[in-house]
Amino acid sequence: MASVSQKKVKRKHKTGQIVFATVMLAIPVLQYIVFYIGVNFNSVLMAFRSYERTNHGWASEFAGFSNFRLVFDNIFGKDSVELKAAFGNSFKLCFYNLCLKTPIALLFSYYICKKLFLHKTYRTILFLPNIISSVTLVIMFMNFIDGGLLEYTGSGLINAQNRPLLVFYWIWSSLGITVLVYSNAMGKVDVSIVESARLDGAGPAREFISIYLPIIFPSVVTFIVSTLSAMFIDQMNLFSFYTNGANTEHVTIGYYLYRETQRATIGGELDKSIFPMLSAFGLLLTFICAPITLGIRALLMKIGGEEK
C-alpha cells in the first residue's frame, strides 16, 4: 500500500517536473528554432533565390548559383575594388588584433593583476569605453582630433579617413573587456608558484612570460578563437565614424555587410533585392571562417593542454 502511494507521489513529482520544464523552455526553445535554426536555414535558401518587386509585394524565384557568381564577380572581377580591399582589411584587422591588441592587453592585465600603483583607477578607466556608447566616444574623438587639435594636426585627420588613426582608435577603445578578463584570470594564479619563482630570482618580466602567460593560456585561446570567429563581423567602427561614406580602401567585410543590409531599410520599406546576394556572401564567409576558427582552436588546445 505504502509503495503504491510512494509510486503515485513519484509519478506526480515527475509530471510536475515535466510540466515545469515545458512551460519554462517553451519560449526560449521556440525562439531558438525560429531565430537561429530558421534564420540560418532561410539564409541558405535565400542564397539560391532572387527577389523582384511586383504590384502585390515581393516575389521570389529559384536563381541557381547566380548570387554566388555575382559574389565572385564582385571579389575577383576586373573592376572590383571594394570587396577585394574588404577581404584584405578584415585579415589585417585580425592580424592587428592578435599581434598588437592581445599583447598590449596581456601586459596591462599583468600590471593590474599585480595590484601595482593606481591599478584600480587604470582598471576602471580601461573599462570606460565598454560603458560609454561606441558612437558617443567616436563623435567625441572625431571632434577632438578634427576640431580641438586641428591647429596642431594641420588637417582634418578623421575627415581625411587617416588609416593609422582609425586603427589606433579601434585598439584604444577596445582594450577594456579583454584586460578585465585576462586580469581576473591572472588573479587566480596560485600565489605559491609566483613566490617560489621570486625566491629563485625571477623578476617581473620573467614572471610574466614564464608563469602568468602559460597558466592563463586557455583564456588567451578563448580570445583568439573569438577574434577569429569575428573576423568577418568586425566593422572597425567605420559605420560609427562615416555611416555609409567610408572610403573603399578602408572597408572591412563586417562594415560592408552591415552597410548593405542597412541600405535595404532606407526609404521606409524593406528592399529585399540585395538580400540573396548578401546571404550567398555570408554563406561563403561562413565556409571560410568556420574551418579556420575550429582548426586553430583545436591546434591551440593541443599545444596549451587542459584547463581547470
Partner: protein, 310 residues
C-alpha cells in the same frame, strides 16, 4: 599597526619596481590620461559658445563658471530629435515627424529594459532547467549553446529581417524583445554554473515541505542567484542602451537616443556645431556613467572565460 602596514606597502612597491613594470606604468598612465583628457575636453567644449570654440577649441572656457554656456544642455532637450517617415501602420503617409528627446528616451528605455529583461530571463530559466533536470532536451540545449558559440555564422541578418517581416513583428518592440529572448551565449554558462553549485539540500528540503517546482524556482533558487541575475541584467541593459545598429535595422520608426547621437555629425545646420554635439554626447552618456558608478563592482566583477591551467 598603521606604520607596519605602510612599511609593508612600501616594501611591496619597491619589490615590484623594475624597468618592466615602470614602462608598463608609463604606458597605462598615458592611456588613462588620453581617456580623461578626451572626456574633459568634451565636457568643456559643451560649455562653450560656437564663437568661443572657434577661438579657443582646446582649453577651458573663459570667464566665470556661471558665465559658461550651460544653456547648451537646455538646448539639447529642445533641439535633439530624429525625423521619421511612416510608410505603413496607423501613421502611414506621414513624413518628417520629429521624435524629440523624450520620445527618444522612451524608445531607448523600452528597447533596452525590455530586451535586457527577456534576455536575462531566457538565459536564467533555460540554464536552471538544464542544470537541474536530467532530461535529454537539456543535454541537447547545452550542446547547442557550445556549438553555437564556437561556430561563426556570418551574414544571416538579411534572413532575420525577412523572417521578422514575414511574422509581422518587424519594426515593433515585441519583435525586438522576441529576437533578444535567446538563451545562447556566455551568460547561459554563467547561470548554468551558478545553479549547478547550489547544494541540493535546498531543493530536497522544499520538496519534503510539499513545494512544487514553480515554488522551488521562484521562492528558493531565483533569490539565490539574484546577484548574478542583476549583474547580467545590467550588462545587457548597458549593451542595448548603447546599441544603435540593431534599432537602425529593426526599429526604423522607433529611433533611440543612440540612433539620434549617430545622426549628430549629419546635422549641419547653424547653431549645431561642436559645442552642441558634445552637449548631446554628455547628456546621453550620463545615465550609463551614473549606473556604472553605482554598480561598478558588480559590473566589473569576477568575469572570466576559458579558465586557467592547473
Amino acid at each position: 599597526m598603521t606604520q607596519e602596514k605602510t612599511r609593508s606597502g612600501k616594501r611591496r612597491l619597491l619589490r615590484s619596481l623594475s624597468p618592466f613594470t615602470t614602462l608598463l606604468s608609463v604606458c597605462l598612465f598615458l592611456y588613462a590620461a588620453s581617456m580623461v583628457v578626451l572626456l574633459l575636453w568634451a565636457l568643456f567644449t559643451a560649455l562653450k559658445s560656437n564663437m568661443e570654440f572657434l577661438h579657443n577649441p582646446l582649453w577651458l572656457p573663459k570667464g566665470k563658471i556661471s558665465n559658461w554656456e550651460w544653456s547648451n544642455f537646455q538646448r539639447v532637450f529642445k533641439e535633439m530629435y530624429v525625423p521619421v517617415s511612416y510608410t505603413s501602420g496607423p501613421y502611414a503617409g506621414l513624413s518628417n515627424v520629429k521624435i524629440n528627446l523624450m520620445g527618444l528616451v522612451t524608445y531607448s528605455v523600452l528597447y533596452a529594459v525590455g530586451s535586457a529583461f527577456v534576455g536575462v530571463s531566457a538565459k536564467c530559466v533555460t540554464a536552471y532547467v538544464v542544470s537541474r533536470f536530467d532530461f535529454r532536451i537539456g543535454r541537447i540545449i547545452y550542446g547547442a549553446v557550445i556549438v553555437t558559440m564556437m561556430l561563426p555564422i556570418v551574414g544571416s541578418t538579411p534572413s532575420e529581417m525577412a523572417i521578422t517581416q514575414a511574422l509581422g513583428i518587424y519594426d515593433t518592440f515585441i519583435g525586438a524583445w522576441i529576437q533578444k529572448a535567446s538563451f545562447i551565449g556566455l551568460y547561459f554558462l554563467i547561470f548554468f554554473d551558478s545553479f549547478r553549485f547550489i547544494p541540493k539540500d535546498y531543493v530536497e528540503a522544499a520538496t519534503l515541505d510539499g513545494a512544487g517546482e514553480f515554488t522551488i524556482f521562484f521562492r528558493i533558487m531565483l533569490p539565490l542567484v539574484k546577484n548574478t541575475f542583476i549583474m547580467i541584467f545590467l550588462l545587457l541593459f548597458i549593451e542595448y542602451w548603447n546599441d544603435y545598429q540593431t534599432p537602425l535595422l529593426y526599429l526604423p520608426t522607433h529611433p533611440t537616443v543612440m540612433y539620434a547621437t549617430q545622426q549628430l555629425p549629419k546635422r549641419q545646420e547653424s547653431g549645431f556645431e561642436q559645442p552642441m554635439r558634445m552637449a548631446c554626447c554628455i547628456v546621453v552618456a550620463i545615465p550609463i556613467i551614473v549606473l556604472f558608478a553605482i554598480f561598478s563592482d558588480k559590473i566589473m566583477g569576477d568575469l572570466t572565460v576559458g579558465g586557467v591551467k592547473g
